[in-house]
Symmetry: C2
Subunit: 347 residues, 2 copies
């Protein structure tokens, strides 16, 4: 395991994205977004993604200098055309559109089509929380057979990992950020396990024959992910597909089989009650939850978003651990595109 500072990782990712055709602001934003995921402890959504994003640029699936635009809009809604830009650009733009409309109209929703991988959904939900809004972000659809999830009671890759995020602003506390895939694990976690050559917990995947497996390699040989919570996670996954992908028309504005889209909802709190009254109520409620004694094996009850905030503080101090295989692939990608200034690990 190697250790790098956030600035080091951001710098190398930025240089790679710039070298494969992204204007400076886009390269900086996508690199920053990925490294934020590393800081928050979600390495599956961190710089491990860089070689895959570059591959998608080579395949023409990501258009590195594209920018999103509005296809259709009303005062409360928009269909945002990602134009196959980096998904991070499309999602940030979509959240900005929702925020701008919700400032005027109190509630606003947008559906993003032609949408690449947007990274960690919580990032965009929190943009709304910082504006005194409740934010909801749902990604749905089918991007590639590599994130295939079986429907409850079925054997087949029929659904994506279709994640949800909600962010709710608090007062003196950090915002509540719920952010999870509707599969038991995100496919990115399998990438991490595969990179570390480690086994998975039981009950996460089936192999190509529908047999339970703990070997991440089995997933990449035709296996499938299982939805979390049985029929409940399956129901959420299907709703995410219809909301994220079909509402905006991603299945016709996209290119089969890449039909992923993202739904974003912004809800201005002070249309319901004064914002400071609400955030004080949230603080109070979170305080109640925090007083619940920990279960055996736990140190304390955590608020959704709290583990990420702690990881971020720690990793800003101590650096971000990166497996050698992940680093080697980053270096290989960098060299292929003439990026020669590579940082030395801090540990």
């Amino acid at each position: 395991m190697l250790t790098f500072s956030a600035a080091q990782l951001e710098s190398v990712a930025q240089a790679i994205f710039a070298a494969v055709g992204a204007p400076g602001d886009i390269a900086t934003h996508v690199a920053h977004s990925l490294v934020e995921s590393n800081l928050m402890g979600h390495d599956s959504h961190g710089v491990i993604r860089v070689p895959n994003y570059v591959l998608r640029v080579e395949q023409g699936r990501i258009v590195p200098d594209a920018r999103p635009s509005i296809l259709r809009e009303t005062s409360t809604t928009a269909v945002v055309q990602g134009n196959w830009a980096y998904g991070q650009s499309a999602a940030k733009y979509g959240a900005e559109v929702a925020i701008r409309k919700a400032r005027e109209a109190n509630v606003a929703a947008c559906a993003i089509v032609q949408c690449n991988h947007i990274g960690r959904l919580g990032e965009y939900a929190v943009m709304m929380a910082r504006e005194g809004m409740i934010g909801m972000v749902v990604t749905g659809g089918f991007s590639s057979p590599f994130n295939g999830v079986a429907p409850y009671g079925g054997v087949g890759r029929a659904l994506g990992t279709n994640p949800y995020a909600f962010a709710v602003p608090a007062g003196t506390r950090e915002p509540v950020v719920a952010d999870f895939a509707t599969s038991i694990v995100a496919e990115g976690k399998l990438q991490v396990a595969r990179a570390k050559r480690s086994q998975l917990a039981e009950g996460l995947i089936l192999d190509s024959q529908g047999r339970p497996s703990t070997d991440p390699e089995d997933f990449y040989q035709g296996g499938m992910l299982l939805p979390f919570g049985g029929h409940k996670g399956y129901a959420l996954a299907l709703v995410a597909d219809l909301l994220g992908s079909r509402l905006g028309g991603a299945e016709i504005l996209g290119e089969a089989p890449h039909t992923v889209g993202t739904f974003i909802l912004a809800l201005r709190i002070d249309a319901f009650r004064p914002l400071d009254e609400f955030t004080a109520a949230v603080d109070g409620r979170l305080g109640e939850i925090k007083t619940v004694p920990p279960a055996p094996g736990f140190q304390e009850v955590l608020i959704p978003g709290e583990p990420e905030a702690r990881s971020r503080a720690l990793r800003l101090q101590e650096g971000i651990p990166i497996p050698e295989e992940t680093w080697d692939k980053l270096v290989e990608t960098a060299r292929k595109y003439g990026v020669s200034t590579l940082p030395a690990p801090t540990a």
Copy 2:
């Protein structure tokens, strides 16, 4: 087990609600709502609730002739004051408000406070689907210690069972209706197991010390329900609490410890794409899901809402099975309020 027609059960429930003070239209609506849950196979939300609703009227928690009103509104939002009416009245009113506003503004949200038990959430979500909208209904807050759910990693009854429902209209198919509690099971299932002196499946409850238990008695000795899907269900439960209860101010407009509220969102589909194009896309997607081969032990992959639609068709034909104990309690409640015309079971 006794069998009654839906009309018979509706008639007796209607007569009881009328006898304890509900105007005819309210008595009819609440009775109809409960019997619809029986038809759909969710007997825990059916006429078994009648004696408990009557008890709440006696306790002053349900005001049987109250009607909901709007406390505060904008063109896209409303805070609905349930005025401690039957929850079904408040939720139906809230969905109607959201639909009316979304017809004009494309997106609308309302938060219901002073809200009693609303029954099956899917009922209100489907009202929106029938109007060419995507409907979302979330109930959150704490109504009684008897539905206490532990936060992930904690030992304490800190959350309610906080359910979510989504409804999405299809074309030739029935709407997709996802409707589930964020606890793994309802407390009613524990009551049944306790009465039968049978053990529970593993992973449903903790005892008062936070240890996993399969003995339903442990729940009633200070134990707690677990959220579904570990930290993911917990995150959804907490978001439901903040969205359902705190957004509208149920914790101050309600009466501690009864702080339950309901959040309703309506999203007009044709603001995003033509409705018939969307519903055709949904039909197509559901058709794809239905082609997935069943897993061992399953006959077919079901769409959320499909089990309920099948149960409804069957029970309209064959009647609704009611355990004798449930019927006896209904009869006792009816006699107490002078309701003398009671149906004879059809089987």
